[in-house]
Structures are given as structure tokens and as C-alpha cells.
């Protein structure tokens, strides 16, 4: 599986993260998204006319959408991540995969605007980003009421992998995550998964170390 990848892209990172969590082997092909704008070059557009990353190629298969790529990697290397425990869970995963597109279009754009000076209607992007975070927060609170810690149920699925990166990187685009305690708790759960990997702006958990000695019982 070849992944056309950009180190700073949350949508590429979610593929790398799932691969790390499932043990899937990726061959990374670095795309000069910034400053080179390689994703708009004729050679890249021949692979993905949409001019976006990530792109995955495997044999004759070319996938140009992160939801499709996540689905493919999970189906091949970790089917449990597809979330097939029940019709409801499966449908929720599909819904969150679609929802993640709204995150890319809002928080993702605000972030590349603020960091890399890519063009965007920054006020509209931030507004839409806040709306997305509010929806995730509300959904997580609702899940907690039924005892579930993850977006689609009581265990992590593609839904979490798809929505987690942008939720954590919102401050890069000038969107605070301080008002969302359920999101913060959930992102900690994702970061605690065995095999978790980082990207700039998404740090591993440092605070799961043992208590210092001398703490009273």
C-alpha cells in the first residue's frame, strides 16, 4: 500500500495512525504540499484529479479520499476497526466518516490558513469548525450517558480515527478546544491506544507514568 503523504496533514496522519494501530505496512511517498504545491502539479493531478492528499495506491486500486482509505486499510489489516458489532454501530461509523469531511473543510482550512498562509475565508472556517466541535462534544456526552467512551460505541473504530486529528489540531487554526471537556477526555482515550503514533501538534500522553514515590496510599 503506497500512501501519498504529507507530514503535517491531519488527513494523511489518520491513515498513518490506523496503519500503526493495525500493524499495516505503508510505503510513504512524500508529497511537497508546502511550499512546492506538488498536489497541483500535472503529474499529481493525473493520479488524483481532485488535487488532494492523502491518496492510496495498491495494485490497480487508487483511492483519493481518506474515508475510503481508512476503510480499505481496516478491511485489510484490522476489520474490527470497521465497527460491525451492530447495524447501529456500522451506521454511526459511516456517519462520522462523512462528518470528518466537514472537519477538513472547516478546521483543516483554518489551520493551513493560519500556519501556511493558504487562502481561506478564515472567519467562516472558524465558525464552521466551532459548530463541528460542538456536535462532537454533544455526541460524546450522549455516548457517555450510555456508558460508551468512543464515538460509535464502547470501543474505538474508524469513527474516532477519522475525527480525532482535526479535533486536537483546532488550536492551530485559532479555534480553542477549552470549552469541550468530553472531547479532551476522548482524545486522551485515543492517545492511550496501544501502538499510538504522534504528529506535530498531537503529542503522546506523558501523564500516564507511575505516581512518584512517596505519594501517600
Amino acid at each position: 500500500m503506497i500512501l501519498y503523504d504529507y507530514a503535517l496533514s491531519p488527513d494523511c496522519y489518520k491513515i498513518r495512525l490506523l496503519a500503526a494501530l493495525t500493524g499495516a505496512k505503508l510505503t510513504l511517498r512524500a508529497v511537497d504540499f508546502h511550499p512546492g504545491g506538488e498536489h497541483r502539479s500535472p503529474a499529481f493531478l493525473a493520479i488524483n484529479p481532485g488535487g488532494t492528499i492523502p491518496v492510496m495506491q495498491d495494485g490497480t486500486l487508487t483511492l483519493t479520499d481518506s474515508a475510503a482509505i481508512l476503510t480499505f486499510v481496516a478491511a485489510k489489516s484490522g476489520p474490527a476497526w470497521l465497527g460491525d458489532d451492530s447495524p447501529e454501530m456500522r451506521a454511526r461509523v459511516a456517519q462520522w466518516l462523512a462528518f470528518a469531511q466537514r472537519l477538513s473543510a472547516s478546521i483543516g482550512k483554518a489551520r493551513t490558513h493560519d500556519m501556511l498562509q493558504k487562502p481561506a475565508d478564515i472567519v467562516a472556517c472558524r465558525k464552521a469548525g466551532v459548530q463541528c466541535l460542538r456536535e462532537i462534544e454533544a455526541a460524546l456526552v450522549e455516548r457517555h450517558l450510555t456508558g460508551d467512551a468512543f464515538l460509535a460505541g464502547n470501543r474505538p473504530t474508524l469513527a474516532d480515527i477519522a475525527c480525532f486529528p482535526h479535533s486536537m489540531l483546532a488550536p492551530d487554526g485559532g479555534i480553542s478546544v477549552d470549552p469541550y471537556p468530553a472531547i479532551r477526555l476522548w482524545t486522551r482515550s485515543v492517545r492511550a491506544l496501544p501502538g499510538f503514533i504522534e504528529m506535530p501538534g498531537i503529542h503522546r500522553l506523558h501523564d500516564l507514568k507511575p505516581e512518584p514515590v512517596g505519594v501517600p496510599e
Binding site: Y6, A7, L8, A30, V31, D32, H34, P35, G36, E38, D114, M115, L116, Q117, P171, D172, E198, M199, P200, G201, H203, R204
Partner: protein, 278 residues
């Protein structure tokens, strides 16, 4: 009379990325335009053409009257080096904070975990810091640090030696041991464009000995490192760099930062600085 702030050279664009549309940007709070004209690049501000030149992959401009030539990086012309245009990263921080963070080796294990540093190897040994009067630059030398992956070309953990150099108030250059070429130094720079006193665009640039790593991987590696710094920089307090001693407690690792602040103060470079302890 010279102006210690306006008479400096500042990066305003990457030559390789300057398209026919030009670039509208800002320098020291004023609008600046970088554009092609008859095959040359010119920089204008407020109806005036600014002194400008192209060097180290970037367009440099001076809002005032240049007090001195642009600093020299002799390695830039050394045959066999790959010159890497990393591209701008905007950071909501004082331009001086961006330089100061770059000089601080103690943050590697915590911010660049498993790349430029790793616990428990957090010790910064004794090193030398000096303001070199003959060139009017800050230099830190004999800095040794254990690194898990010092460069894209490094196969495993090594102890890296660094030298840090501040040749201009908003420029920092580091020299580090070059894994594939013992005896030579890799050159990694941070060229900082001050937009305002608390907003800057940072242009990392590198001159490396590495014949194997694809250019895009070199860019990604450096962007990864710098983006790890960005959120730290945006959350630093006070936002402006205090030039008066006594506000922040010095440790051995901060000796370079102390020299840098002293040197800035001596030069009267106060853009992005805080003079009176708040």
C-alpha cells in the same frame, strides 16, 4: 542617524515560490509587496522601492538604509550541499521569541521527543558562549547532545555536536555534526520575518550534505520539527522577549539566550522585546 531596527535585512519571500502574482506581505507592521518586474524581483513599500537582494533561496529587503551587508554563510556556496527551501510557517509570537527558542537545546527531549532528543538523556553539558566582537555576532560552541534521530540521514542514536550563531537579530543559524560527512557541519537556519511585534513568518532553510534523501522528505522532516515548536511559541509568556535580566531564571542551557538578549539590548534592537519587567 542609523535605525537599529529598520536598517536590518529581513526575509520577505522564497525566490523559488514567487509566482507571477507576486506576494503581498508585511514587514515591521507595514505593507510590503514583492513582485517580478522585467525579470527582476523588486520589493516596494509605501510607494518606495526598498533595497533588496536574493540570497540563501530568499528575497531579502531592508526597510531603511542597510547598516551592513547581509551576513555571510560561506557553506551556502560549498559544492555538494543540498539547499533546502523549507517554506514559511506563520507563528503568533515575537520574532525574537522564535529565534530564542531555536537557540534552546534543552527543549529537545520534551518537544522533539525521539527525534532530536529523548528522556532520560536530558542533560546539556558545559559549552561556550561568546559575543564575537570582531563580527558582532552571538556564538555558542561545543554543545553536545544525545539525539535519537539527529537528521533524516541518521540511522540511529548519536551524540551530536552543535554550534549556534546569531548573525542578525532575527536570524539564527545552527551547525550540527553531519552523519554522512564527518568533519563537515550541516547548516540549518531560521530566517524570521517580523510582521508585527507579536507575529512573524518563519522561513527555515538548510544546506546539507545528504545525497540520498529525497528533497521532499528533507522538507517534511524540518517542517515536522518546526511545527512541534509552533504551539509552544504561541503559548509563551510574556509574549515579548524581556531584555532586562531577572525575569526568567537562568539555567546552564539558557546561557545562549542570555547572551542573545544582552546583545540585542546593546544593539538597541527592541522590536518584539519587552524592556521593563512587567
Amino acid at each position: 542617524m542609523t535605525d537599529p531596527i529598520r536598517d536590518e535585512w529581513y526575509p520577505v519571500a522564497l525566490v523559488s515560490q514567487l509566482g507571477p502574482e507576486g506576494r503581498d506581505t508585511r514587514l515591521l507592521g507595514e505593507p510590503v509587496r514583492v513582485a517580478w518586474q522585467d525579470g527582476a524581483i523588486i520589493v516596494t513599500s509605501g510607494g518606495h522601492t526598498l533595497p533588496s537582494q536574493q540570497r540563501y533561496g530568499h528575497v531579502w529587503a531592508c526597510p531603511g538604509t542597510p547598516a551592513r551587508p547581509l551576513f555571510d554563510i560561506p557553506e551556502a556556496d560549498q559544492p555538494g550541499r543540498r539547499l533546502v527551501d523549507v517554506g514559511l510557517v506563520r507563528v503568533k509570537c515575537s520574532p525574537l521569541r522564535a529565534v530564542e527558542n531555536f537557540l534552546d537545546i534543552a527543549h529537545f527531549p520534551f518537544v522533539h521527543t525521539d527525534i532530536l532528543g529523548a528522556e532520560p538523556h536530558t542533560e546539556v553539558g558545559k559549552y561556550d558562549v561568546a559575543i564575537r566582537e570582531e563580527v558582532d555576532e552571538v556564538w555558542a560552541t561545543k554543545v553536545h547532545f544525545y539525539q535519537p534521530q539527529a537528521a533524516k540521514s541518521a540511522a540511529g542514536g548519536i551524540t551530536t555536536e552543535y554550534m549556534y550563531r546569531v548573525p542578525a537579530p532575527t536570524v539564527s543559524i545552527l551547525y550540527k555534526t553531519c552523519p554522512p560527512r564527518p568533519g563537515e557541519w550541516d547548516v540549518i537556519t531560521l530566517f524570521v520575518q517580523p510582521l508585527d511585534e507579536e507575529l512573524c513568518e518563519v522561513w527555515p532553510w538548510m544546506a546539507l550534505f545528504d545525497d540520498d534523501t529525497p528533497m521532499t522528505d528533507l522538507i517534511h522532516f524540518q517542517q515536522t520539527i518546526f511545527l512541534q515548536d509552533r504551539s509552544i511559541l504561541e503559548n509563551q509568556l510574556p509574549h515579548r522577549l524581556p531584555l532586562d535580566p531577572g525575569m526568567e531564571i537562568p539555567t546552564r542551557a539558557d546561557l545562549t539566550s542570555i547572551a542573545y538578549r544582552r546583545w540585542l539590548k546593546r544593539r538597541g534592537y527592541t522590536y518584539g522585546a519587552q524592556l521593563v519587567a512587567a
